[in-house]
């Protein structure tokens, strides 16, 4: 069984497309208020970083800030299969940056134990597709530890980070977006950023949280998404979304790598006079229900789009909340544009909720 791909460089036929997403993002940022868009991308001394470098910077700062912080997982010591942990073992030593045996239930259970003893383990699950062997440890243990003990024990220092989502050729076991499975589990927090700046600030916030957090990293952005990033220490609070562009006609709610797809669709719609408000949730549990509600009350229409399959995806929760919160404002039924309800195939061109599908949804809902 080919379980692990030795990925030294993420090659994707769509890489040029997503490189243009980065530049498109820079252009788009001028359309919104400075305080909102430029959080940490235009800090003095900002340094060009891709997504994986922003992660590496966050881990470096976390390790230097607190001696009780450790980083470990499969193949982490040499730099990790996506290079997110490059040079950290050399800098901080093999007791704080180390390999674990090849066992997800083992490494997550081990991390829970470390966190219950007051340390801050940042555990890596090499691909989100392989987090399921640790599902019992996450759902039955990490998420419930504080509650079941009346607050006397907890593993709040736990952070699990994991590459996630499609990469062009990952097939069934190197492409999954699994956040929906965990969204139904009280006691954990879930984050999935879409930019290097957000990734760094949100990861450092997860490390500071005193609740267990799962941090998903859309792996096709690791090298393709580049922007100026504040090299210093900063955090971005969980539970706060981000309005990437303001609009009047329809709200699009999304997160992760799908943000870039939605942005392209919004630009295409703009050429036809349709004004799209685009929200990047960033934090999925807790999520920014208030921001979404305010936006949909203004536009009267909503499309929720994510890479995970449609049935029981996070979009279902968002849409039912919107229906409850914005019932009198809705001018069209809320729509969801997601992956199909099949396992993730190798050929994903028609499987993914691509730009064309999102664009068609925009046309449909604004013409309802």
């Amino acid at each position: 069984m080919l379980r692990r791909i030795g990925v030294t460089h993420v090659v994707s036929p769509l890489s040029s497309f997503f490189s243009s997403v980065a530049s498109a993002r820079r252009l788009q940022m001028t359309a919104v208020s400075a305080s909102q868009a430029r959080e940490h991308a235009d800090a003095p001394g900002a340094v060009e970083m891709n997504f994986l470098q922003a992660i590496n910077s966050a881990l470096d700062l976390a390790l230097s800030k607190d001696e009780k912080t450790v980083v470990f997982g499969e193949d982490v010591a040499f730099g990790g299969v996506f290079r997110c942990t490059l040079n950290l073992s050399k800098k901080y030593g093999s007791q704080r940056v180390f390999d674990s045996p090849l066992s997800e239930q083992g490494l997550v259970g081990f991390a829970i134990g470390m966190a219950s003893a007051g340390w801050k383990p940042i555990a890596e699950v090499q691909f989100a597709d392989y987090i399921f062997p640790a599902f019992d440890q996450i759902v039955n243990e990490a998420a419930k530890m504080r509650f079941r003990s009346g607050g006397h024990f907890h593993c709040g220092g736990l952070v699990i980070r994991s590459p996630s989502s499609a990469v062009g050729h990952g097939g069934l076991y190197h492409s999954q977006s699994v956040e929906g499975f965990f969204n139904h589990c009280a006691g954990i927090k879930i984050v999935m950023p879409s930019t290097p700046s957000d990734a760094k600030g949100l990861l450092l916030q997860c490390v500071e949280e005193e609740d267990p957090c799962i941090f998903f990293e859309p792996k096709r952005l690791y090298r393709s998404m580049v922007e100026p990033v504040d090299p210093g220490y900063y955090t971005i609070p969980l539970g706060k979304g981000k309005i990437l562009c303001e609009g009047r006609d329809v709200t699009i709610v999304t997160y992760g790598a799908q943000v870039g797809v939605a942005m392209k669709a919004a630009e295409r719609a703009a050429q036809e006079g349709i004004s799209v408000e685009l929200i990047d949730l960033r934090s999925l549990k807790p999520w920014d229900r208030e921001m979404v509600t305010q936006s949909v009350r203004k536009t009267g229409r909503v499309i929720v789009t994510h890479e995970a399959p449609k049935t029981s995806g996070i979009g279902s929760e968002i849409v039912s909340c919107i229906t409850q919160d914005c019932f009198l404002s809705l001018e069209a039924p809320p729509m969801r544009v997601c992956c199909l309800d099949t396992p993730h195939p190798l050929n994903e061109q028609l499987y993914l909720p691509n730009e064309l599908k999102v664009y068609e949804a925009i046309k449909f809902i604004t013409g309802y």
């Binding site: 997550v108 081990f110 134990g113 470390m114 530890m145």
Partner: protein, 431 residues
């Protein structure tokens, strides 16, 4: 250390032959390469006759100190234990026995919803707790309440947890017998079996790192995970023990092998030499002990703790004993084992009586003290049951507490709605 303990089968001569000269180059090449596999062949990396290795029978004998009449068999192996510790051990076992009698009956009467006793297994829990330091962190399964009792968990604490009253600092959220105490360094018990094993490996890694920085030897501590032989079949057992071994965690794995996982006998649980043999496969020191002999358990665990701290590796101890009681208040064990078997083995081993005879011979204890303490604890437990039955449960206002450190906006809203619902319908909720 255990390299040559395996029994060769299908081999008529000596276990190893001297390699022929023409293979010297091969031998030398393999000796250079052995570190790639984290192996050390001790100079003989190959054999020229095929051998399949099996390690099953004869089973590894268990260490013991006392015979069934509480006499020391080998005076050289009698551990030096302070008198107050011996008495404290005896008292803890008797207290737990008495508490178990009352609370199991309380469950039969419908006063608590569920119960599990430690009948017949008190020695393994108390012997282990007594050999550890109070600051060592315990990760329990569920049949080790006696270890908590030894550490000072009270009848009041136990009744409060079993009843879920307002006095249960754990807020009454878990089924009865799921105890825990931050003050006593005993981690909260949870029902999913074996999940605590990798936790103890990770916390034991923390202990190792902190012990290496600690200059005062008396402040060094370890973690101990208590595991039933059925739980050892879970993937978490493999993951936890293996990772403790590679990470050199300061962790003790104490296996309570009582012969049954509910109705499943050990013949359906494993085919190797118990759980003990698996630890050898992970490359860590292992011992097997008579789990009904509290002095043997004490001595083994004390030596294990010393070994853990001095060699920076986890240790596995398998205690063999017998589950005298039903698995739980939801189980009737006569469905799968005969009453005769239970009576014979329960009366044969009697860990508490065995130790009592030992103490009597040393003039440290009398049967009257046993009767007196048992009666006192039974009365204390009954009194607590009566008292706490009148206490309220935790209030509705606490229902969303502790899911996270802080409540999220949606949880605040849900809590508010719940309280409003409760106020509107208070009479229909018998609280």
């Amino acid at each position: 250390m255990f390299r040559k303990s395996s029994h060769a089968v299908m081999h008529s001569g000596g276990l190893f032959r001297t390699p022929r000269p023409l293979c010297r180059a091969l031998q030398e090449a393999l000796m250079k390469a052995q570190s790639v596999w984290n192996l050390d062949f001790g100079g003989t990396p190959t054999v020229d006759e095929l051998t399949f290795h099996q390690r099953k029978y004869p089973s590894t004998p268990m260490f013991h100190v006392l015979d069934l009449d509480g006499r020391v068999v080998n005076p050289k192996q009698e551990p030096e234990v302070p008198k107050e510790t011996l008495i404290k051990m005896m008292e803890a076992m008797l207290r737990q026995q008495s508490i178990d009698l009352i609370l199991m009956e309380a469950q039969r009467q419908g006063r608590i919803s569920f119960y599990m006793t430690s009948m017949g297994e008190e020695a393994s829990a108390v012997g282990t707790a007594a050999a550890l330091d109070m600051r060592d962190e315990l990760f329990l399964q569920y049949r080790e309440a006696a270890a908590l009792t030894y550490r000072g968990y009270t009848v009041k604490d136990m009744v409060a947890q079993c009843m879920g009253t307002i006095e249960n600092e754990l807020k009454g959220r878990q089924m009865p017998i799921h105890y825990g105490s931050r003050a006593l360094n005993v981690h909260m018990i949870s029902s999913p079996v074996a999940t605590q094993i990798p936790h103890a490996a990770g916390a034991g890694y923390v202990c190792r790192l902190e012990n290496e920085r600690e200059t005062d030897p008396n402040k060094k501590r370890i973690c101990a995970a208590f595991v039933g032989e059925g739980s050892a079949s879970q993937g978490d057992f493999h993951a936890g023990v293996n990772m403790a071994a590679t990470m050199k965690s300061n962790t003790l794995f104490l296996i309570r092998n009582n012969g049954y996982a509910i109705s499943t006998p050990s013949s359906s649980q494993y085919a190797g030499d118990g759980v003990f043999a698996r630890g050898i496969g992970y490359g860590i020191p292992c011992a097997r002990v008579d789990g009904n002999d509290i002095l043997a358990v004490f001595q083994t665990v004390r030596k294990a703790r010393e070994l853990i701290r001095t060699t920076n590796q986890p240790v596995l101890v398998e205690a063999l004993l017998y589950r005298s009681s039903h698995h739980s208040s939801s189980d009737d064990s006569t469905w799968y084992r005969s009453r005769d078997e239970v009576e014979v083995f329960s009366n044969l081993f009697l860990p508490v009586a065995r130790f009592e005879k030992y103490l009597e011979r040393k003039l440290l204890w009398t049967p009257e003290q046993s009767r007196s303490l048992s009666q006192k604890v039974r009365q204390e437990t009954l009194a607590e049951l009566h008292r706490q039955e009148k206490l309220p449960k935790w209030p509705v206002s606490s229902m969303h507490d502790d899911v996270y450190k802080e409540m999220t906006p949606e949880m605040h809203q849900a809590q508010k709605e719940l309280e409003e619902h409760y106020e509107r319908n208070k009479k229909e909720y018998n609280m």
